[in-house]
Subunit: 413 residues, 2 copies
């Protein structure tokens, strides 16, 4: 069953890859209309999932993620309409050049083909992922959390109907209609039909998928993000940035987990910033030198430097130099997002060059690592891979390219 | 031992990633000089390999690939000097834009990190791969064919010494000093230290590596390349192109394996082109309709359409329409390089759009799919992957990117 579904997705992907922008946008707008129309049916499917989840003893946080209401359904529909408004990445000429022999070689963006998206409880991922894949000309095979199966089926079906109405192959949007784990294992071996797997979920989900997949996986692992407050920092700016990076939304991967402070400014900077962080509800865990300056700070352990809290907890370390800060980030960071606050021209440039993370900031909050904030319009996730896509993955990152070569009879000597 | 070596390569890669273009070019030029200087020692190491190979009963084709002479050593040295002359891809700003909030976001090219190259008998791959990786700022872990171990060690050592002389970490160029297969299995699990594996060799080598690797693999599988002669083709041009694509160098992946001919021109085109191909030593295997036109052609079987001959053999099929040709290429092609010969504007555009191969040609020989011919200056291979790199892989394809963000105190609302 899984194999047949993947084969159909491949066929649909071939057709969708050649579809016009207008047809794809029409499918997205019709899908948005369908979701609004079918809102009562979606909510009743969702209620079944929530009731089953409650009976199965899901935590209230999980139940909250699982639950749809009218506002959430509308937000999904609006999301699809926004994707319709984004420029179509397919067909873009990335570069074109002429060779001495007269051949003109163009590098042209095309869809990846078939994308497998494996995710956990939020049903809105069904609409987001389907919409982005559709716009980029890819068929998508979706596998959501088993606790959201009825909701996901209702959403995927509404979208597939809309795709059909727009004259495109409905098999381009498919959902594994099962909560069976064995089905995922089969899915992950369909390298003939699926080009890439995008897992959205915790590290253990991603690791398990990577281990068993014969299809390339675009991972988005943890973000242990650092802000380094340099000796030449504007300390008022540093305080605003650190506060924002920690407390504006602590549960996401681009939030700061560790603050590094140059020893020359630690005594001036730490008492005030820690007071403000604490006022915002943040628990501080510090190195020895931090604790010498602000005595009632809990000691940070080696474990703390390696932890993505995703919570109102911050580890703090005083460093002797920028070199030490860069090395610390290289050792404990996850290559996601790291920032320096400094007014020093050369140190800013060196930090940007030496820190090997997907996003490296000068004088800004790490919270900006995000498809919308980068101007991509939407994102499938934030890749911590080095290959293919790094950082926020928007529509372009769901494409590949081919070379088109215009000749006039050239042969090779 | 393998793990320690990979760990050292990671460390060296970090350092090399920040090296100046001048230092890298100096290392490449010194490496070229070293290879020339040490030519007698290289040749004597190579003689040992060749003698062992002969004793082990290697075929004469394999022995030929294995054998170095002064000219081949000089060609390796010249290759390294040519790489020194190519522009440095590292540090290139791919794009930069300003957001409404004043953040300036740049996408900057950086090295991949550590590249593992696994290859078969030709010792010159040692120099080529090391040179390309070095220029792109990557450390490289090389694993050559066991039959070339002494030659490869001599080459790799000469290069590592030159890297050291240029003030760069010699551990950036490492060769697995063993012909032990178990060592490769260990290598393929070092995802902590190696970022990508590039296998150069036959399909069975690539498949085996892909199966056991926990590191992403950039494959370059077979090229079953087609030339489609359209009903609107200039038949004299079509003949020149087909001849070149088949016979100019039949043993390579961008050579034509199957010729498709529109039925409307088959009777005019086939007798003459087949006569010329045969005069060049090509064996023809044709479909029924081909054999009805040129009676003494051998019948082509289903197996023929799926075979990369890499030899002076060509399969020929008469098709009823361009649509049939495109479908045939989609079914039997390997997504490498395919061409149309036509004078028809709209059919040219449709073929370019509908054929999903890494390189799609109008009115030119498929033999141009090559890093040098594309103007990349050199290549590591030709990728048949869809992710990360597709088609000829030059220096740019050995890099990734990061985002550098210039702020002035921006925080997220």
């Amino acid at each position: 069953m899984v194999i047949g579904l993947c084969r159909e997705a491949r066929r649909a992907g071939r057709e969708l890859g050649l579809a016009s922008t207008d047809a794809k946008n029409q499918a997205l707008r019709r899908a948005a209309a369908r979701l609004r129309e079918r809102c009562p049916a979606l909510l009743s499917a969702n209620r079944r999932d929530v009731e089953n989840g409650r009976a199965a003893g899901l935590s209230s946080a999980l139940l909250d993620r699982l639950t749809l209401d009218e506002a959430r359904v509308k937000a999904m529909a609006t999301g699809l309409e926004q994707i319709a408004q984004l420029p179509d990445p397919v067909g873009e000429t990335i570069a074109m050049w002429r060779r001495p022999n007269g051949l003109e070689i163009g590098q042209v963006r095309i869809p990846l083909g078939v994308v497998g998206v494996i995710y956990e409880s939020r049903p809105n991922v069904t609409a987001d992922a389907a919409g982005l894949c559709l716009k980029a000309g890819n068929a998508v095979v979706l596998k959501g959390g088993s606790e959201a199966l009825a909701s996901n089926q209702a959403i995927a079906e509404a979208i597939a109907v809309a795709v059909d109405e727009a004259g495109l192959p409905p098999a381009a949007v498919q959902l594994l209609p099962t909560s069976d784990r064995a089905a995922v294992q089969v899915l992950l071996r369909q390298d003939e039909y699926i080009d890439v797997i995008v897992p959205r979920g915790g590290p253990s989900l991603i690791r398990a998928i990577t281990e068993s997949s014969s299809i390339p996986v675009i991972q988005h692992y943890a973000g242990i993000c650092h802000t380094y407050v340099d000796r030449h920092a504007d300390l008022a700016m540093a305080e605003r940035i650190c506060l924002n990076a920690k407390v504006q939304r602590p549960g996401v991967c681009n939030a700061m987990e560790t603050m590094l402070v140059h020893q020359a400014v630690a005594e001036r900077f730490l008492p005030s910033v820690i007071a403000r962080l604490r006022a915002a509800g943040v628990e501080i865990r510090g190195c020895e030198r931090t604790r010498a300056i602000v005595p009632d700070v809990k000691p940070a352990t080696e474990e703390d430097w390696r932890t993505e809290y995703l919570d109102l907890i911050l580890s703090v370390k005083v460093v002797a130099s920028m070199t030490d800060a860069v090395e610390f980030i290289g050792t404990y960071g996850t290559g996601h997002s790291d920032a320096i606050v400094t007014d020093h021209y050369d140190r800013a440039r060196r930090f940007l060059r030496q820190v090997d993370s997907a996003a490296v900031y000068v004088n800004a909050s790490t919270r900006f690592t995000d498809g919308y904030e980068f101007g991509f319009g939407a994102e499938v996730g934030i890749s911590t891979n080095r290959l293919h896509a790094r950082g926020p993955m928007g529509l372009r990152e769901l494409t590949t390219y081919k070379y088109v070569i215009y000749g006039s009879g050239q042969v090779r000597e």
